[in-house]
């Protein structure tokens, strides 16, 4: 049962040490401190380039039934998780501009926090760009091109404080017709929808999938070079 904490570790690490660590934590009472220690250890294992590049000779005897993948970059999961979280935050912050939620800080134009949705969107776009660059290193050319286009679009469009004709061409038509749909939350989604929202949802989905693949070690590989 306690073995589930070991799933936090990178696949390469688990292929080498999971059985031993499972035996160890079966022998010691697993209170809050060892659990925190395991979580911290898993962060170290993911973030350490040294340990993320354990080669076949470093893995020790192969575990029966295990099929360790090629060396994987430890940053893949963290980058995609961070991008997913930032993307969701950016959407929430953008929607919060139009909807007043009791107990929540207002991020509307009159608030001192007006800049947070813009920063979140730029950060999100930047992270997608980083993922694109990472994909270039992995020589996944089509995925890299899509991520770079997506990241650039989100960054440029997200940097605009108000949705404009660039983001929502139909906003111009709304204004001309005297409609102000963006004053309601559903109208805001409609305004946000055309490019940013769609790009964000697609990018977030890709991040979740990439993160899942990185976690299970199915696909994300490093070229031999």
């Amino acid at each position: 049962m306690n073995r589930r904490w070991l799933r936090l570790y990178p696949f390469v690490w688990r292929a080498r040490y999971e059985d031993e660590m499972a035996q160890l934590i079966a022998d010691v009472p697993l209170g809050p401190r060892p659990v925190v220690d395991l979580i911290r250890g898993s962060l170290d294992a993911w973030l350490s380039r040294e340990l993320g590049h354990l080669g076949p000779s470093d893995r020790g005897p192969a575990r029966p039934g295990s099929s360790a993948p090629e060396t994987r970059r430890p940053s893949a999961l963290w980058l995609s998780s961070l991008a997913t979280a930032t993307g969701l935050v950016s959407i929430c912050l953008t929607l919060l501009r139009a909807v007043a939620v009791p107990g929540m800080v207002s991020v509307g134009a009159a608030s001192s926090w007006w800049w947070t949705p813009v920063v979140a969107r730029i950060l999100f776009g930047g992270l997608i760009l980083l993922i694109g660059l990472e994909l270039v290193r992995h020589r996944h050319w089509w995925s890299a091109a899509a991520a770079i286009a997506c990241g650039t679009g989100i960054s440029i469009l997200g940097a605009q404080w108000e949705t404009t004709g660039t983001v929502s061409p139909h906003l111009v038509a709304q204004g001309a017709a005297g409609l102000h749909l963006y004053l309601t939350w559903w109208g805001w989604i409609a305004d946000y929808w055309p490019l940013q929202f769609l790009l964000s949802v697609v990018a977030i989905s890709c991040c979740v999938v990439a993160g899942g693949m990185a976690a299970t070690g199915r696909r994300v590989t490093v070229p031999n070079a």
Partner: protein, 105 residues
């Protein structure tokens, strides 16, 4: 790659404990943990212990022996023994200098 424990960052102390524990012979993870607790009074968590073991193994300072009941005992390599001796010598020099200062009013 560094040739002493200072390159191990926050794992330097744990790595020294592991090396010291293995100086008396090969041990698996749980035995190392128990040994360190008994000798140094330090309770190492499983994440810290295996973080140190992985780094020491990567540097070639310890080596895994064939598994016994799904646990690999670890043993000191020649290089690991050299690093341990060097670290302990430095620690002794430091401790002696501190004790000497205390002796002088």
């Amino acid at each position: 790659m560094s040739t002493n424990l200072s390159g191990l960052g926050r794992f330097a102390d744990s790595a020294l404990f592991v090396l010291a524990s293995l100086a008396s012979g090969p041990k698996h993870g749980y035995a190392i943990m128990r040994d360190v607790h008994r000798e140094a009074g330090v309770q190492m968590g499983p994440g810290t212990l295996y973080g140190a073991i992985a780094r020491l193994e990567k540097r070639g300072w310890i080596a895994a022996l064939p598994a016994e009941d799904r646990r690999h005992p670890y043993t000191l390599t020649e290089e690991g023994r050299r690093v341990l001796t060097e670290e302990c010598t430095q620690l002794r020099r430091f401790a002696e200098s501190v004790l000497l200062q205390d002796a002088v009013p």
